[in-house]
Symmetry: C2
Amino acid sequence: METIVVALGGNAIKQADEIGTNEEQFKNVGIACESIFKLIKEGYKVVITHGNGPQSGNLMVQQDLGTDVVPPMPMDVVGAMTQGQIGYMIQRTLQNILKKNNLDMPVATVVTQVVVSKDDPDFKDPSKPVGNFFTEEEAKKIVFEKGYILDPKPGQEHIDKKMKGHVIKKVKPTANKPYRRVVPSPDPVRPAEASAIKKLVDSQVIVIASGGGGIPVVEDRNGILIGIDGVIDKDKAGERLAEAVKADIFLVLTDVDAAYLNYGTSEQKQVRKMTVAEAKNYMKEGHFLAGSMGPKVLACIRFIEEAKGKRAIITSLDKTEDALNGNAGTTITP
Amino acid sequence: METIVVALGGNAIKQADEIGTNEEQFKNVGIACESIFKLIKEGYKVVITHGNGPQSGNLMVQQDLGTDVVPPMPMDVVGAMTQGQIGYMIQRTLQNILKKNNLDMPVATVVTQVVVSKDDPDFKDPSKPVGNFFTEEEAKKIVFEKGYILDPKPGQEHIDKKMKGHVIKKVKPTANKPYRRVVPSPDPVRPAEASAIKKLVDSQVIVIASGGGGIPVVEDRNGILIGIDGVIDKDKAGERLAEAVKADIFLVLTDVDAAYLNYGTSEQKQVRKMTVAEAKNYMKEGHFLAGSMGPKVLACIRFIEEAKGKRAIITSLDKTEDALNGNAGTTITP
């Protein structure tokens, strides 16, 4: 019985053209869970992880608007809240599909912290824009009122002792609102709840874990966990989850059906299969974009190299079955 | 090795005189977890549940203020979000205390739905006020804009097919803002994730579950789970959790140190020990108030009668150890 870790892309929960009502999100989760159910029916032990970008963005907007009456929570807590939210949506939906199919299997969401190194270079030079865009005037107001730092030089010390990064950067060269809050996106090391998750997987429980890339925490020198303001890439964190549960297959679901060479040009060509060496080569040649396919391919490479996984697959939700059979998507092998 | 389910009161996370900043909540959770750690050190297998009143209240206020830009989530999802939030706070805090004491034990939060009966009488006559208070004018505006029902007669049909109760009631006879939203507070039947939780407890994992009384769901006639707008009493839900993990002891922590006869009068007298029969008698005599000590005593009675538990204890956080030794608090026995 092979164990498969499925990393659901953001569009599996909220489509780009939706505002993100409860009904919309449950509808999308329903479609995603029908695909996942096929894996369960085929006998795979399934572990699910997912993004949380739109949900944490929405929550931070609500927090901002209510800031005069309710104290806003920092990003680690926001991450935890969206894990509860999306975990519940997936869990209930999957339980109902199993029930309809007369399959009696437990499903549970584990609130998951993901440990990152406090020496991660991203703490010195945050890379992940989050939340609303601001005009220069608005940006300066936030800097004045909240003590944020405006456009720090790379390496300049701007993360306080509590690892709270409060940085506003000009993220677009032009436009009316070019400023945005930027937070660290450190590399995940391991899920803090690895052993509990592994116990559940070993007991035939379908587990949802490490949502939104996990709640970002650093360890101090005594091993004490401290929550930080940051966002961990959910595919990289999903790979660490796959390591923790000793998965055979790591399945990255996104909005394109495969990895492409020369993506977006007239020469674009789907990659059906590549070895780790080939994938590294394509990476070097710049075929996979930093903000999109790049981290997914990197996570897949890691899964093969560091987690000693059998194969990693990148595809879209509707191609899941075909991709597992090698007839769609991109498969990365040793 | 005895299993103990600890139900943390709201004041273990947010004190009444606090606004509920992240720092305040982590400070309070720290105090609560130091008490819980003593139980772990004494060799108890610990399962933790907790309230979420102030957190869900705060989140609903933020949702209301942001309603023009972000679609608000219904109460089942709000409950799930606060489970992530508070679960993370307790989990990380307890992990850090264990680490400081060189104890290597996993801690994990399980997002928990609690099933209630769709025929629960509270769906016909909602009893739990939630959120802000309104003037008559504001109440009428909400009724007009959102289709809520104003002061329905008991039994009048006002829960729609999706089990969303949208009722505004005059909850105070006088005062400038006497109106408030009122939702059902149905009786918990069982945690939907019982088997996953039990597996973790059996594997020596310290589990946090059923937070805020659990995410309220009903089963349709085919066993399909549907989320509802409602609030389940966290002590009653904690008792169902104790049943699910076959706990020996059910420990209800609150802001008074014990149950009292004639509470609040010059005759008030602490009850150190009572049998189920005695407890029922005191209940009948009206010693335990409906909104406060009543449901706690009821949950304890159930724990002995239905879960066949050894003993149930009601006390305050600081008296935990003494109460376990019978030197403080109120112990309910068969």
